[in-house]
Symmetry: C2
Amino acid sequence: MTYCVGVLLDQGLVLASDTRTNAGVDNVASFRKMTIFNVPGKRNIVLLSAGNLAITQTAVAVIDEWRHGKNAKLNIDKAPSMFRVAGIIGKALREVYHQDADFLKKHNAEFNATFLLGGQIKGERPRLFQIYGAGNFIEAQAETPFLQIGEIKYGKPVFDRLLTMAMPMDEASKLILISFDSTMRSNISVGLPIDLLIMRKDNFKKPEIRRIGEKDPYFADLRARWGSALRKTFESLPPLPLEG
Amino acid sequence: MTYCVGVLLDQGLVLASDTRTNAGVDNVASFRKMTIFNVPGKRNIVLLSAGNLAITQTAVAVIDEWRHGKNAKLNIDKAPSMFRVAGIIGKALREVYHQDADFLKKHNAEFNATFLLGGQIKGERPRLFQIYGAGNFIEAQAETPFLQIGEIKYGKPVFDRLLTMAMPMDEASKLILISFDSTMRSNISVGLPIDLLIMRKDNFKKPEIRRIGEKDPYFADLRARWGSALRKTFESLPPLPLEG
């Protein structure tokens, strides 16, 4: 399983993914699920993937080939908008579908792949999309300024309760890490380390992926304090009055 | 969708279910998903259901018919243990499967039904089971003293973090209601009112179902205070230190 999340803020984008992949619980490995495409001074694009790793890796390879090919319409480095970039990612997924789906079917494997796409092209604001296996996509908006893929449910309530676009990036990063904590407690197939990416608005330097592992002092402290604060909050609220 | 949960405590059982059913979002109704079978002074048995309402209602009808039939082995009022009761519930599901599954298949409908079974038979401790559509079942144990069916994920982290068997019933009821709050915020197909049942250990009077609706003053206060306490807790923790 996988858990990836992206949040769209006034200050820019924060994106995070876990690094655990598994083919059954007896075959677990660590893979980076985040790929950055940067054109210095001009655009920053990042892809986060969930689903069948063979499909998503192949799609990323196709996207990369197209960046160095002759067809400008398939080149995310030249696309005039993030909307067009999302269309190209969808096309790459359809290309992989065309190559592999029939063979997957013969092996009773589903064509299971989803991307989160975040980024900014100079002249546009930062934008965040989710691209489905079918190649179609949706865009995050102010009312619900986050998108999740993979094991989304355990970590969703904190976003529903607390996230707004006005939240600063450092606070949103804290919220994302709390969401990962809840997810990892309930689903062992989502695992550390976490890759976290801060993409500041109107900054077109290639962003650094920050890797947060078990020994990360901030994350360890946050988990402990959030857990104990939840417990104290719970204890401070009155119990249900029972009859008898 | 549905959300039902049962928790197994030293003091007894607390069980709760929502009341929303839907066949598509354009056909929503309110149904009781909790059925009590009581033999005064001797046994208390409660069933909570999730899945296809036609299947679960028919299974409950079969169980009830068997209570008034001649075969003692199919009578939950006479079963010598909760383990045997769980077996009878499973048999009733298999009976419905035998009647309906082929027809459901012709209409591309899955045979989708799950029960939570809680109860105590005099001489035994209170016990809690989950019965699958296939008629097999599992029992809750001290390490994980809760079971959930239906839309389980949004409301699971609070149990993973806080529940123990030693928790008093009134505190566990509070925890269940918080779990419902998180679930209802994230999934509109789980809805109020909530039916909550307290089954005290070694008390074989028929328990009352407590119905908790939007205007329930305790629940309204709990939701507001939990939400604002979470926000305050979140704000009190340090943000992720960012570079640059």
